[in-house]
Symmetry: C2
Amino acid sequence: MSVIANTPKPPYYAVIFTSTRTEGENGYSETANRMVELAEQQPGFLGVESAREELGITVSYWAELESIKLWKANIEHLEAQKKGRSQWYQSFKVRISKVERDYGI
Amino acid sequence: MSVIANTPKPPYYAVIFTSTRTEGENGYSETANRMVELAEQQPGFLGVESAREELGITVSYWAELESIKLWKANIEHLEAQKKGRSQWYQSFKVRISKVERDYGI
């Protein structure tokens, strides 16, 4: 279950991953779950939030740009990224951003 | 329909709005649609992406921090924010971030 991530006081980083899927499952969910499990073990991981309707939005939060770089280069994640490009996603956009301020209830 | 926002070359700003809803509709959808319509008319608005499952995630993109400030202070939006706090959202978090890099297919 996805809940609002309990991130620390800014600054920290957010990777906004927006996507539209292709037809069919093709092992997507299993890998998606595995990637969350794996991301949680990475140094500098702060949390992740996810929702999908026509559009899927996953925002992961990181302590440092370096943490994001290491996660992007993770072997198992590289394999998933390859399948993402070739099979699972019709289109996607990754945006790397620095959270400067936050508030909420 | 929500599609991947056609944002310009970074830098630009992203407001990541994550929320969980209360029970019941209470006029939420009508106001949510109106807020998108209104945001699109604001100076500096670049696009918006949205999806909801248990968690709702709406990311709006803006040219400048000043554009975000003006949108937050919009009279009709202030009214909606008040109802959001008192009626529609069980919890929410707003994160204001600067997009430094993006890529995709």
